[in-house]
């Protein structure tokens, strides 16, 4: 009896694992499908511009405001701790490096997943539920080329821009708190930052990260919408799954990329 129960437990673990792996595999296969059918979205770039507006421009406010707040908090916290070592001027280095390397790409990707990714999933899922996608297929228009690919590319183009705006805003926030309010020396703040931040290894690597996150979030969001069961619960479940799995994907990919980037494989 206990053996059977254990076996059932182990089987359950195996089943769950296989489902997760299947889902990851299906998402990657879907990404391949999008790439194969993205010709039309570049020939009619207006479609992508429209999606950049909905994914990127409409996320601007949340990205800019959160960037400012994150930078201000970094400035406050960094100053508080660095004061103990008598090196308050290094607060600029702390703010800039943590934003450019990590927080800018990661936090803006998390915000992007919940602000734009969920909207993409809900939109495509609802189109499927109301049989608009089937109608397109009837007219011999590929829904992947016409609906999915422009949204995917809109997300991929918006993400690095949003991440850079987040970092820039955060550094301005850190500057406001550390220099304007607390009174750290202005020159030391910027000069130490410039000495420590390397264009190739910090800024470009941050942009590479944000592009990868853009691809991951957009692929997951469009996949979940396209595969959503065509019911009200199906669409709501798919929207939740988009936010959960893209957040996990962002953090996991970030760990892997950071490990490679710090070792300097490029």
């Amino acid at each position: 009896m206990p053996l059977e129960r254990t076996l059932r437990g182990v089987r359950l673990i195996g089943d769950r694992t296989l489902r997760i792996v299947e889902r990851v595999g299906a998402t990657v296969a879907f990404l391949g499908l999008i790439l194969a059918q993205s010709g039309p979205s570049f020939r009619r770039f207006g479609l992508v511009i429209r999606e950049i507006f909905y994914a990127g421009v409409q996320s601007l406010i949340i990205i800019l405001v959160s960037g400012l707040f994150v930078g201000m908090v970094l400035g406050l916290q960094g100053h508080e701790t660095l004061q103990n070592y008598g090196s308050e001027q290094s607060v600029g280095v702390l703010v800039a490096l943590s934003l450019v390397r990590e927080l800018g790409p990661v936090v803006s990707a998390l915000l992007f997943a919940s602000r734009a990714g969920s909207a993409i999933t809900a939109e495509i899922g609802l189109m499927k539920a109301t049989e608009q996608l089937s109608a397109m297929e009837m007219m011999a228009v590929s829904p992947i080329a016409r609906v999915v690919a422009p949204r995917f590319w809109g997300g991929v183009f918006s993400m690095p821009l949003l991440a850079m705006l987040f970092s820039a805003m955060g550094i301005i926030g850190g500057f406001l708190v550390a220099v304007v309010i607390i009174g750290v020396d202005d020159g030391a703040f910027w000069s130490q930052m410039q000495a420590a931040v390397d264009f190739r290894h910090d800024i470009v690597n941050g942009i590479i990260k944000s592009v990868v996150f853009g691809v991951a979030v957009s692929a997951i969001a469009t996949f979940e919408g396209y595969e959503a069961p065509p019911t009200a619960e199906g669409v709501s479940g798919a929207t939740t799954r988009t936010v959960v799995s893209s957040s996990l994907a962002i953090l996991a990919l970030d760990l892997v990329m950071t490990a490679f980037m710090l070792k300097g494989w490029n």
Partner: protein, 160 residues
Amino acid sequence: MERGTLNLWVGIFVLLGFISFLMLAFKVGNLTAGGSGSTYTVVAHFDNIGQLKERAPVRSAGVLVGRVQGVQFDPVHYNAEVTMAIDSQFKFPKDTSASVLTSGILGEQYIGLDAGGDDKMLKNGDEIKLTQGAMVLERLIGQFLFSKAQEGNADKGGQK
């Protein structure tokens, strides 16, 4: 939404992104310093490099002139071989000396170059012969204790 308004907003978005890229590159990063790109490499052997790492700064008179490109153990001489990439606009005499220094008490380590008086200049691939390794705190303390102990012995010897 109308096509023109859409394009306008996306244009503003892309411009903002581009401006923040420029700010990151020039105001935050150091694209201006050492951005000329062309460098020449020189090699130096040190007894001990302490915590010196790749990409550590190479300074002369406190000014950044290059970066450490690589640190390797030399199995023939049993010391550390450091490769430095120095900006081509700065030429140093052949008898320049290099030492591993620390910025501040707990700061990062860098290589300081002190120019010599030779007429010939360092070329790509040359070696800096005059070097001084890093000060290792444990060794300094050890030396200090040793010299104290010797003083104590000398005092005893004097009393006898």
